[in-house]
């Protein structure tokens, strides 16, 4: 098929962008979840 490598490159690049964004959001969410747990414990301790 003509230009198949370009088609594949485009689709891989496109999906990679979506995937990387989703990954970054999930990573930041997990980090925040840990931070919330840590802060909650601090608040409990001082009560």
């Amino acid at each position: 098929m003509k230009n198949l490598d370009s088609v594949l490159a485009a689709y891989m690049a496109g999906w990679a962008i979506f995937f990387l964004f989703y990954l970054s959001v999930e990573r930041r969410t997990a980090a925040l979840r840990d931070e919330i747990e840590r802060l909650k414990k601090l608040v409990q301790k001082e009560r």
Binding site: K2, V7, R33
Partner: protein, 225 residues
Amino acid sequence: MLKTALTALTVLFLIAITTYLAFFYAPVERTMGPIQKIFYLHLPSAFTAFIAMGVCFTANLLYVFRREHKWDWLGVAAAEVGLVFISVVLVTGPIWAHPVWGIWWTWDARLTLTFVLWLLYISYLLLRSMVEEGDKRALLSAIFGIFAFLDVPLVYFSIRWWRTQHPQPVILGGPGSGLEPRMRVAYLLVWGAFTGLMILLLRARYRLEAMRADVDGLRREVEAR
């Protein structure tokens, strides 16, 4: 944990569906050949980016007049997700153009407009990163977002008229012209799938922003003691 797994599965499902539609359901285009398949990624991303832009604008307006945090969270989520879809448009365009035209970039009307929109989104996000205080950040970025949205029709017309005066190779030679019914169905379904993808990404990013607000609240509680 379950929610993340479900979301990941839905995303994979959407990818599978769009790939099937683009490569197996839709016929091969006569003049361009298989490279036209890139449009099934390129165009629906552009339409979805416009939807995200509309969501961002609405959220900005609602924040300015109601001052409820959730509108600020929705605004930044829509802006980041919109930026992602616009980036896909900007990346897939040149990858299509190079084998067809032999050039990576041309300042044709659509690509130029897309680039300017990309820059406007970036400015919005940069502004947010330069304001520390939450309420101030929300208000200032909401107003900039409103100004940016009002600018879009003016940008569109000025670029289009400018390009009719100084024509360039048209990157997208009217893919809507002479569209076979199966192609049209494929475009619509892929666009639907992309809208679904947008909603998933929006929800994840919105949740992240809401959590950030929780963290700030807890931090203030800890420091108050």
